[in-house]
């Protein structure tokens, strides 16, 4: 089983930010593979979701890019900026809080049902 893209959409920024906090710099493919590996294939980030998110994070100034040439290929590494680091903490704690609330909310519903 893997999660629906709707569920992932709201958390993707946080996932990417946290990964970049744990790894100094990463490129797109590496991010998708890492997530796949850490979640034992449960979360599979699509290219169509990942790159728009990365570009949005870049334009918000939370991540910066670094280019590396591999022959004719251009590899773009993404890494956290200073403001990205503090934003990551904020986002992670927000999501943790949200998960607690959801747990509570859904528990009530299942109990009353």
């Amino acid at each position: 089983m893997f999660y629906s893209s709707e569920l992932i959409k709201g958390t993707l920024k946080t996932i990417v930010l946290k990964l970049l906090a744990n790894n100094k710099k990463m490129y797109g493919y590496e991010i998708t593979q890492k997530v796949k590996e850490l979640t034992s294939d449960k979360i599979q980030i699509t290219e169509g979701a990942l790159y728009p998110t990365l570009h949005a994070l870049e334009s918000e100034g939370l991540v910066t890019t670094e280019i590396e040439f591999i022959g004719k290929r251009v590899r773009k590494y993404y890494k956290l900026s200073t403001s990205g680091k503090s934003k990551t903490k904020e986002k992670v704690s927000e999501l943790a809080d949200f998960m607690e609330t959801m747990k509570f909310l859904l528990d009530i519903k299942t109990k009353s049902a």
Binding site: G28, E47, G48, H55, A56, K72, R73, V74, R75
Partner: protein
């Protein structure tokens, strides 16, 4: 593990751009990503071409440009909420400022022009562009986008026209015709034909089009009412003749009296001339009306007096002074049997707020005052001769 060669990498980069991805940074991201997948998953002697086609297909639902569109959308909408807030606030501010400004203008209170100007600037330069950006993303087909664009440009021209009109700048009427022309001949037909084809919006389109045509009709009527050129020409001509007569009379020699009446009459004359110059330059920009105003196509419109005549401004104090001068003149002249008492037309105009209504009325009243002083002067001259 597969090893990609340079031709294959070129092929991938070209293919991604041929599929419509235009952002270079995104091209680089996607190319590297595909390369990684191929190198990690294709066997050493596998079929590059078919594996590439299979892989790239997993990137999208319909076509590859989806990713770019999504990226652009995310980048544009980064400030979505801030922009929406700005749009609503600027819209409200513009409407309030403009309405307040119009009311001030109507009441001849100071500050009207600043309010109108500010309202127009906020409306045209902040509200309309943001409105366009939002609406543009909502509409799908290019025809609707065109209708929207022309509508927004139409709105901008309308603001520009109001601006020119309020400040009596030349060219206002031309702008008006231009705005009305775009509205009636381009906007309405385009709106109608782009909406009528869609069955869901058909009824809405028809009713809105009818209302728009009615609106255009009202606007057109307004044009007729406001630019009665012949009417203004006649009024201007009338004034010029009056002025001519006055100058001729002033030129006729009469005995110098060197008394108080003469002195006061001269002061009244001078004050009248100064006020006339102000009115004329407000209307046409020069201190006097040229004789060939008709050929030069100078239109002297009948409008309210400019802000120079607002309370405490220069023009207003001149008028108050004139009112007092006339009263003094009348009190002195009352000892002379034959002399004509002047109706204090100016006092009447101030009381009945006639000053707010017409620049021509004031011009005529001033001429009348000057004529009476001249007439009295001649009466005194003949008195002396007897």
């Amino acid at each position: 593990m597969y090893q990609l060669n340079e031709q294959q990498i070129d092929f991938i980069i070209n293919d991604i751009s041929a599929r419509g991805v235009e952002m270079e940074t995104l091209q680089q991201d996607l190319a590297d990503h595909v390369c990684c997948i191929i190198e990690n998953n294709l066997e050493e002697n596998g079929d590059f071409e078919s594996f590439y086609q299979k892989t790239i297909k997993t990137f999208y639902k319909n076509d590859l440009t989806e990713i770019e569109e999504e990226t652009l959308l995310v980048l544009t909408y980064k400030n979505y909420y801030a922009m929406k807030k700005t749009m609503i606030n600027s819209g409200i501010a513009s409407a309030v400022l403009f309405t307040a400004g119009s009311f001030f203008k109507f009441m001849h209170w100071p500050g009207a022009s600043v309010l109108i100007l500010l309202g127009m600037f906020i409306g045209t330069l902040i509200f309309l562009p943001i409105f366009f950006m939002f609406k543009k993303n909502e509409t799908v087909n290019s025809k609707e986008k065109l209708v929207l664009g022309i509508g927004v440009i139409n709105g901008m021209f309308f603001s520009l026209y109001v601006l020119f009109k309020v400040f009596h700048w030349p060219g206002a009427n031309l702008l008006w015709f231009f705005t009305l022309g775009i509205f009636a001949l381009i906007f309405i037909p385009l709106y109608f034909f782009s909406g009528i084809k869609n069955p869901t919006t058909k009824l809405n389109t028809i009713t809105t089009t009818i209302i728009l045509i009615m609106l255009a009709g009202v606007f057109f009527l307004q044009t007729r009412l406001m630019s009665s050129k012949q009417f203004y020409l006649a009024k201007t001509y009338n004034y010029i003749q009056y002025e001519d007569l006055l100058l001729k009379l002033q030129a006729t020699k009469s005995a110098n009296q060197n008394n108080e009446i003469e002195k006061l009459a001269n002061e009244i004359n001078q004050n009248c001339n100064e006020i006339k110059t102000m009115i004329i330059s407000d209307a046409i920009g020069t201190t006097s009306i040229p004789k060939d105003f008709e050929e030069k196509q100078i239109t002297f419109e009948e409008v309210g007096l400019s802000s120079q005549f607002n309370i405490e401004e220069n023009g207003y104090s001149k008028i108050l002074k004139l009112k007092d001068q006339i009263n003094t003149y009348n009190s002195i002249i009352s000892s002379h049997k034959q002399a004509i008492q002047m109706q204090n037309e100016i006092a009447r105009m101030i009381d009945k707020k006639l000053l707010q209504q017409s620049n021509f009325n004031l011009l005529y009243a001033l001429n009348q005052i000057q004529l009476i002083t001249l007439q009295n002067k001649q009466l005194f001259t003949s008195e002396k001769e007897i």
